[in-house]
Structure formats: structure tokens, C-alpha cells
């Protein structure tokens, strides 16, 4: 009985074929196109982040270089002819390759391309050198009174060797790069597929998973330092207290897969330190001062409370001095690049480890001496324009609904490159509690 029924259906429906309406394919086609378009921002994002990182790395060594170079000019002269020779050599190389044209057409093209690239990069290098030298000239005026450091010479030698090494390495690496670029173009397509796969394994259970999210973020930061010393003056050790400040900005993150997320954004960050009860003494020498006041006078500071530097205090009786609170504030535009790993998640709660680094661009620099009668404003001269920080923290998320979630993120950020010189061992970090409302789409 059952067999008969089964057979009836089996035989009739076995070779059933039915042509679907054309709109089905049209729908599929548009969906596929959408998917491709949606993936483009990922590459934009990745390349953008990479570009920012490289930019940071490029600018950072330059700002370090001119500090060394401007103190010893003779070494620069020996350096520049080398780099000027290089393009000529390359030109002769390219001529050679042109002669071989008749023999090896395909290969020669590749070489020419790579040569062109080399030339370009070398030209760029030269331009940078020019920039550096003009910068040096300007710096010289500003730092005319600065004493020469002992460690300049060995550092310079290192610089030189690394530079020449770079030059010799170039011909090979640039070729490799061109090869890699072409390879990457091919692998990109595969990558997209693999990303889709990963996404697919998740989306099989849940039909749509939002990948992008954006969150306005607000944080309370507590500025701290690994040492108690002051970046402003040696005399102020053990009296520097970090104050609370704020940070706010926008965070954008992209979900790579179930576990991993990358995020970036823009934040405005401020740090603030205070030394209470400080005696400011006017001095003649500019040597030890790392702040410049608007009134153009130089000062050294001492701790009124501890009275450690008795000579300064005693001389302070003779010269004009001020006592009050010294406040230093500096702020950055922060561009973080962080990766988050999802290690605990339930339906509503989500916990992630956050690690990464931030590029910090100095946009605020204030030093303020507030005494009973007068207040004086100035700025620190030893702050680097570009700074980096290593970030580590936890991200606790609570999802309100499909698209919205609340986030609380305690973060620890240690700064790596805050001061250019003479920071008296002061290395700042901050602990912040970031909170935000995240929108996923």
C-alpha cells in the first residue's frame, strides 16, 4: 500500500524539471552585485589604515632625524652624494635594458617598470631630504643655544649605515613589491571568496549578520605616569599628579568573522598633570628648561613642599620668584587601529579583548603656572607632534536590539613617543573608561 503510494510520487516527480521565472535570476544578479559593492569598503578601510600607519612611520623618523643631523653638518654632505649617484646608475641600467629590447621584450618591460618605480621612490627621498635640510635650518635658529649631545656621533653612523643599506636593498625589494602587487590583485578575488565563506558559515544559521558598526564614544581618562618625575623640570620629581580628563570621538568597526573585529576611528584625547605648590625661579641659562612661557623668560622649578633642592630655594630668595600650581595639559587627535577578539558572548552580552595601537597627533599644548597673584601661560617644547600609544582593554557590550548596543570599555593606553628630549624619565599612560552606543548595519 505504502509502496504503491511512494512509487506513484517517485515515478511522477523523479525527473521533474521546472523553469523558474526570469525575475529569480534578476534578483540573484542584483544581490550578487550588491555583495561585491559592499566588499569594496573593506579594502578601502584596510588600505586606509595601512596608509595611516605608514604615514605615521614616515613622519616619525624624520622628526627624529633632524634632531641628530642639525648638530653635525659634515655628515650630511657625505650622505647626499650617495643618493644622488643612485638615480644615475639606474638610468644607465635602464639604458642597458633598452638595448636588450630586441632580445627580451617581455622581461625588459618588467625591469623598466621597476626602474621607474625606483626612480620615483628615490626622487621622493631626495625631496624629503630637502625638506629635512630646510627644517634643519629652521631648527638651528631655534636651538642655537642648545648644547651638543655626546651621543650624536654614534647615532649618526647608525643612521648612515641604515640609509645605505636601504639604498642597496631597494632594487630587489621594489621588484619584489611589483611582483607582489600583481600577485595580490589575483589573490584579492580569492580573499573575497574566503571572506564570504567565513561569513557564510555563520549566516547559514542567522540569515543576516551586520558587519559594520559605528559608535559615538565618550571616555573619562585618568592620566598617569610610570614614574613620578616631571617632564617639565627635574626639580619637580615626586610631585606630579595625574588629573582626570576626557576623550570623545567616533569609533568604526568591521566584523571580520565570528571572533575577530577590527576597529578604528577618530578621538580627541586630553591629558593633564599638575604639580601643586611649586616655586618658579627665573634663570639666565635656557639649558634645563623644557617649557617656554609667552613672556619669553626661562624658569626652573622647585618643589616647595619637599625642599630637596635647597640651593635653588635659597637662590630663589634673592631672585624674583613665583609660587603656585603648575598645570600641564596636552591633547591629541587619536586615530586608533585595534583588533578585537570575541572570547565570551551570550545572546545579550558580549565580551571582547581589545589590542592595538593609536597614532596621536598633538593638537593642544599648554603649561599654566597659577600663583596667588599672577598666572603665566606657556607651552612645553619637548612634546613630539606625533606620538603613538599601545592599547589594551576589554570591551563589554550589551545589545539592546538587533542594531543597537551599549558598550563599556576600560582601556589602558601607554604612550611610546611623547617627549622628544629631556623628559626626566616621565612616561605617561592613561586608564580610560570608554562608553558608547553602537549602531550596527
Amino acid at each position: 500500500m505504502n509502496n504503491n503510494l511512494d512509487k506513484l510520487f517517485q515515478e511522477n516527480l523523479k525527473n521533474l524539471e521546472a523553469t523558474p521565472n526570469k525575475r529569480v535570476w534578476n534578483n540573484i544578479e542584483t544581490k550578487l552585485k550588491k555583495k561585491k559593492n559592499r566588499l569594496v569598503p573593506l579594502w578601502w578601510f584596510a588600505t586606509g589604515a595601512a596608509a595611516l600607519f605608514i604615514l605615521g612611520l614616515l613622519v616619525f623618523p624624520i622628526s627624529n632625524n633632524d634632531k641628530f643631523i642639525d648638530k653635525n653638518d659634515s655628515n650630511i654632505i657625505t650622505e647626499t652624494p650617495e643618493t644622488e649617484l643612485k638615480p644615475k646608475q639606474i638610468k644607465s641600467l635602464s639604458k642597458d635594458s633598452i638595448q636588450k629590447k630586441s632580445i627580451l621584450v617581455a622581461e625588459e618591460n618588467k625591469i623598466l617598470k621597476s626602474n621607474k618605480q625606483e626612480k620615483k621612490t628615490l626622487n621622493k627621498k631626495e625631496e624629503k631630504k630637502k625638506l629635512v635640510s630646510t627644517k634643519n635650518a629652521m631648527k638651528k635658529i631655534f636651538l642655537a643655544n642648545n648644547s651638543i649631545k655626546n651621543d650624536v656621533a654614534p647615532a649618526l653612523k647608525k643612521e648612515e649605515t641604515s640609509l645605505t643599506k636601504k639604498n642597496t636593498d631597494k632594487p630587489i625589494t621594489s621588484k619584489e613589491i611589483t611582483a607582489k602587487v600583481t600577485l595580490k590583485k589575483e589573490t584579492k578575488k580569492i580573499d573575497i571568496n574566503s571572506v564570504l565563506e567565513q561569513k557564510d558559515s555563520i549566516s547559514f544559521n542567522k540569515k543576516t549578520i551586520s558587519k559594520w558598526s559605528i559608535a559615538p564614544v565618550f571616555a573619562v581618562l585618568s592620566s598617569n605616569s610610570f614614574s613620578n618625575s616631571s617632564p617639565i623640570d627635574k626639580g619637580l620629581s615626586n610631585s606630579t599628579i595625574g588629573k582626570n580628563s576626557i576623550s570623545y570621538g567616533v569609533q568604526v568597526s568591521f566584523k571580520l568573522n565570528k571572533k575577530w573585529t577590527i576597529q578604528s576611528g577618530v578621538h580627541l584625547q586630553e591629558m593633564s598633570y599638575v604639580n601643586n605648590n611649586v616655586i618658579a625661579v627665573s634663570t639666565i641659562s635656557t639649558q634645563s628648561s623644557s617649557i617656554s612661557f609667552n613672556s619669553n623668560s626661562s624658569v626652573t622649578f622647585a618643589n616647595a613642599a619637599t625642599n630637596q633642592n635647597s640651593d635653588i630655594v635659597s637662590t630663589s630668595l634673592n631672585r624674583s620668584n613665583l609660587s603656585g600650581d603648575l598645570t600641564q595639559k596636552y591633547g591629541y587627535i587619536e586615530i586608533p587601529l585595534e583588533i578585537k577578539y570575541n572570547f565570551l558572548s551570550s545572546r545579550k552580552f558580549n565580551t571582547q579583548i581589545v589590542a592595538g595601537f593609536s597614532s596621536l597627533f598633538l593638537n593642544k599644548n599648554e603649561v599654566n603656572l597659577n600663583s596667588q597673584f599672577v598666572s603665566r601661560f606657556g607651552k612645553a617644547t619637548n612634546l613630539n607632534n606625533i606620538n603613538f600609544s599601545g592599547n589594551l582593554g576589554f570591551d563589554f557590550g550589551y545589545s539592546l536590539n538587533k542594531n543597537w548596543s551599549l558598550n563599556l570599555t576600560p582601556m589602558f593606553k601607554a604612550q611610546l613617543n611623547t617627549f622628544s628630549e629631556n623628559s626626566n624619565g616621565f612616561s605617561p599612560f592613561n586608564i580610560g573608561i570608554y562608553s558608547g552606543i553602537k549602531y550596527q548595519f
Binding site: 503510494l5 506513484l8 516527480l13 529569480v24 550578487l32 561569513k199 557564510d200
Partner: protein, 164 residues
């Protein structure tokens, strides 16, 4: 895009038939076919030349269809009247029924009955496999199948009565 459209052209007729059998109606079948092909294009490089390609495509399509009704299948309540009725003997031997009408009978089955009937009778899945696919016990799979058969018999009987 041309490779994808070619693949669609070759297999869409067969896979649409699968969709029609596993879905409630024509519109659902179209939706399922669409979703299936998008999954197929995404997963195409996961196919490792193991087993027939058509079988692989069919499995994806079946899975997509099952996915569609997974949530609703458990809720649907079946007419209890059927169980008390004794179905009369039907002479299947000389029975010829149009494919479209048979398809209609299947489509009218409650979601889970339809899936089990399709999987077991038309696509040769075992009760064990079905129980895993649908997250039910083997016993449930067996009893649902017999109920599905009962409903189909009833429908065929009614159909015969109206045409005679």
C-alpha cells in the same frame, strides 16, 4: 557573472523542481531557489570534487528549503480528524494523476510532513539522517511520515471522487 549565469541556466530547472517539492507554494519556491543560488555562488569553492556536483547543489537547495520552514514546522498543528478516519483502498496500478496535481498535494502537506515525505520518499534520506537534519527524534520522523502518507492518500481519494 557569465559563469554564474551559465551555472544557473544549467541547473535552475532541476533545482527549481526541488524547491517546488519542498516548499508550500510557487512564491516560496522562487525565494528558496534565489537564496540557494546565492549560497551556491558563495560556497562554490568549498566544493571539493567529492560526490557529484549536482548532488552538492541539490543538498544546498534542500538545506535552504528546510531552513525556511525550520521555525514554523514545529508549531503547525495537524488536523486530528484524519487519524480516526480509515482510508479506503485505492487502486494505484491504473492511477494516472497529473504531475502538477501531485505536486499540489505535496505542497499542501503541513511543513514538517512535507519535508519528511520529500526527504524519505523522494530523496532517499534515512530516518536517522532526517532526525539530524530537522532536529527531531527518529520516532517522530517515522510517525510524521505515516501521517503524511495518510493525508496524501486521502487527497488522492478525494481527487478521484471528483474526477470520476
Amino acid at each position: 557573472m557569465s559563469a554564474q549565469s551559465q551555472l544557473y541556466q544549467i541547473y535552475s530547472d532541476k533545482l527549481f523542481a526541488v524547491c517546488l517539492k519542498y516548499c508550500r507554494n510557487y512564491e516560496d519556491a522562487e525565494d528558496t531557489l534565489q537564496d540557494s543560488f546565492i549560497t551556491i555562488f558563495k560556497k562554490i569553492n568549498q566544493y571539493k570534487n567529492k560526490g557529484s556536483f549536482e548532488g552538492w547543489l541539490k543538498r544546498i537547495t534542500i538545506n535552504t528549503a528546510l531552513q525556511k520552514y525550520r521555525d514554523t514546522a514545529a508549531i503547525q498543528v495537524v488536523d486530528k480528524i484524519l487519524e480516526n478516519k480509515k482510508t479506503e483502498e485505492i487502486n494505484f496500478k491504473y492511477l494516472t494523476i497529473d504531475v502538477n496535481i501531485l505536486l499540489g498535494f505535496i505542497q499542501k502537506l503541513p511543513d514538517r510532513y512535507r519535508m519528511i515525505f520529500n526527504l524519505y520518499v523522494l530523496d532517499n534520506y534515512s530516518h536517522k539522517e532526517i532526525s539530524k537534519l530537522l532536529g527531531i527524534s527518529e520516532g517522530t520522523s517515522k510517525s510524521n511520515l505515516s501521517r503524511a502518507r495518510k493525508i496524501l492518500k486521502e487527497q488522492i481519494k478525494n481527487y478521484q471522487a471528483t474526477t470520476e
